[in-house]
Amino acid sequence: MTQLSLSKITKSFGEQKVLKGVDFTVNSGEVHALLGANGAGKSTLMKILSGDYERYSGKITMDGKEQIFKTPADAKDAGIEMVVQEVDTALVSSLSIAENVTMNSFINGPAFFSWNKRNKRAAELLKRVGLNLNPSLPLSHCSLAQKQLVLIAKALSREISFMILDEPTAALSTKEADHLFSVLRELQKDGVGIIYISHRLPEVMNLSTKITVLKDGYITLQEDIEHSSTEKIVQAMLGNELVELFNDDEERVLGDTLFEVTDFRVPSTNEKISLSVKQGEIVGIAGLVGAGKTETARAFFGADPSLDPVFINSKKVRITSPLKAISSGIGFVPEERRKEGILVDYNVIENLTLPVLKQFTKFGLIQKKKEKAEAERWIEQLGIKTQKSTSQINHLSGGNQQKAAIGKWLLNDGEVFIFDEPTKGIDVGAKQDVFQCIKDLAHKKKGILYFTSEIQELLAFCDRILVMYDGKIAGELKKEEATTEKIMHFATGGHYGTVRS
C-alpha cells in the first residue's frame, strides 16, 4: 500500500496565482476524482505531479519520502503515469499499435527487440485493457476510444502505482465509457491508485471513492464519496450560486421550414441524410462517436462540400464552401474549438469580427474603432469574461472561448446555426451560458441543429431529436416521447436494451 501526497502546492504563472496551497492525497486502490470548473487549477496540479512543471512550491511525498520530479521521466520512474486528454499527442500514429504500447522499451529496453516478442507483449497488455486488436496494425486504424485504451496499456507496460486520467470520457460514447470504467475498476483491484479528472458528475459518483473539488486554486470540497452528493459537488464547483442546469419549460412557437435537405449525400460517410429545421426550432442530432455527426455537420456548412443542394427558406442553394454557407446565412460552431473554432493567437475582437470583417471595411481599410465598439457590444451581450477586448483569446477560459466561437456568427446575423458538441470540455457554468445563448437564438426565430453525444443535453432543450447511427438517421423522437433508452436504442442500431412504448 502506497500513499502519494501533495502538500501545500502553490504555483503561479507570472503574476497570476493558479494554485494557492493545495493538499491532495491518493492511496493505492483508490479512485480519487478531481473536479473543478475550467481554470480551477486541475490540469496545473496534475502537470506538477507528472513532472511537466518544475517550478512550484510545496512538497510531493510518496510514503513519506519527498519526491522531486524535474521531468516527466522522473515521475514515470516513481510509478506515476498520465493518460492525457488529447490522446493523439501521446501516441505516434505512424507506428504500429504494438510499438506504441511498448514505447517505453524504446527508451529503457534492450537495443534489439524481436517483433514476435514485441507483438506478444503488446497483446498481453492490450488484453489487460480488454482490447482485442491485432497489435501489428498501424495505430491509425484505432478509433479514439481504442487509442485511449492503447495509451492505458502503454502506461501498464511499466510497474505503475498511480495513474492520472484527464477527462478520459470527454469524447467517448456511453458504451465505450462503460468499458473504460470496467478497465479502471480492474486496475483499482490490482492496487493502482487512480486520479480521475472529469466534468461528468454521474460517472464520478459512480466510479470514485474520494473526491476533491478545486475552485480558483483552492480546495472547496474534499471528502469520501459516500458522504458526498451531486448537489454538494456542484455547489463546491460553482461557489455559492447554485445553477440549475436544465430548466427548459418555455414553449417555443415554430415558424415555417427554414432549412431542409432531402437525400443529401455526406461525402465523407457516403450516406444520405434527410432532415428539416423550422424557424425557432432546436433540432438535436444524437449519435455516438463515429456515427457521422461531425461529418454531416461539416457537409452542411460546406467544410467538406457535398454535391447535393440544401434548401434555405425553400430556396435551393449548393453549399460549395464555408464562404457560401456564411453568405447563405449558416453559422457553424465546430467540435475542435481550439483547432477550428477560434484563432488562438488573435484577440477577442479579431475573432468575433472575422466572418463579417467586410462590414467594418471602407476602401479596403478596417475601421478599427467601429470594429472594436461592435465587438465590445457583443462581448457584453454574450457575457464573455475577458480583461480587455484586445486580450489574446488564448488567455480566456474554454467556456469563454466557446462563447466567442458562437458569437462571431451572431454578428453575421445568420438564419441557421449548426453546433457540433459545443459543450465539450467546458464547465457547468459556461454550459449554462451556452444553452442560454442557443435558446435566445431559437427565440429570435433562428433554426438550430445541435449535434451532440450528450443525451442529457438533448433531452433538456431540444424540440425534436434525430438519432444517427452509422452515418444514417436511424430514428426521430419528439420532445415528449424522447428518453435516454429510446435514444440509445437508435444510436446503437437497436442493440441497446428494448424499447418500451
Binding site: 493567437d345 472575422l354 479596403g364
Partner: protein, 345 residues
Amino acid sequence: MAQYVHKEHVEENLKGTKFQFQERVFPFLYRYGTLLVILFTIISFSLANDKFLSYQNFTDILRSVSIITLLAIGVTISLIVGGFDLSVGSTASLATVTSAAVLVLYRQETIIAILIPIAIGLVVGLLNSFFVVKVRLPDLLATLAVMYIINGLHLTFTKGFSIYNNMPLAEGGTAPGVFLPSFLFIGQGEILSVPVPVIIMLIAVIVVHFILQQSRFGRLLYITGGNEEAARLSGVPVQRYKMYAYLLSAFFATLAGILLAARIGTGQVSAGAPLLMDGVAAAFIGFSVFGAGKPNVIGTFVGAVLIGILLNGLTMLNVPYYAQDIVKGTILIGALAFMYYEKKK
C-alpha cells in the same frame, strides 16, 4: 528563465539581483534586443573607424540593403500566410536578366523593361501558388522545385552568359540596344541626394506595412497563416489569400531583380541567388523586432538594415567577406533564440 516564486518570496528576494535581472531585463531584451544590437554595432563601428558615421556611408548602407529589403518583403508576405517562398532568389535573377534582355537585345523603352519582368514574375508567382494551393505540395518543396526551374530557365535563355551593352551576338555583330539612362536612374540615381533605390524601398516598406496593419486584406493574410482551418471555417477564402501571397512575393522579388539590373548596369546571371539567404535572414530577424513574434515588414526592414550595417562595418574593418557569414549566422541565432525562449515560457 524566470523562477516562479510568490509575491511573499519576491519581497524577500528583492535584494537578489538575479531575480530582477530575469524578470525585468529579459522582456526588455525581447522587445528591444535587436534595436540595441544595432545601436551597439553602430557605436562600436564608429569608434573603430571614424568614416563609418557619415551621411555618405549611411546612404551607402541603405542603398546596399534596399534590394535585399524588397526581396525580404516578399519572403515576409509568404511567411505571413504560413508559407515559405524559396524561389525569390531565382525570380530576382530572372527579372534581372529579362529587363537587361529587353533593353539590350530587343532595344525597348524603360517602361517595357520594367513591365515585362513584372509580368513574367507574376507568372512565377502563379506557378508557385498552383503547386502549393491546387496540387497541395508543401510550400518548401514546391518553391524549391520552382527555384530550380526558374534558375535553369534564365540560364538557358542566356546560355549562361551575362547581358551587357554592346555584347557580341552569336549570329554576328553586337547587341542593338543599351541600358538606357532612364533605366539606370532607378538603380543609380539620386533625388535630393537620397538614392532612388532607398526611396523605392522606403515607400514599399511603408505601403506594405500600412496595408498589412490597417486593411482587411492584410488582416486576412495574417489570419490565414494563423490557423488555416479555423480561417476557412470562418469564411476566409484561404486558398485565394495564399495565392495573393505568392503573387506578391514574386512581385517583390521581381522588383528587387529590376533594381539590381539598374544598379549594376548588366544582366548578370544568377545574381539573385545570394540574395535569397539574406532576405530570409532579414525576415526572420524581423520576428524579434519589438517582440512581434511573427513576420512583419518593419521588422524585416530593421533586419535587413542590421545585416547591412554589419557587412559595411566589417568590410571597413577589413574583415574578409568569407568570415562575415559567421557574424550573420550569429546575429540570426541571437535574434531568434530570444524570441523562442520567451515564447516557450
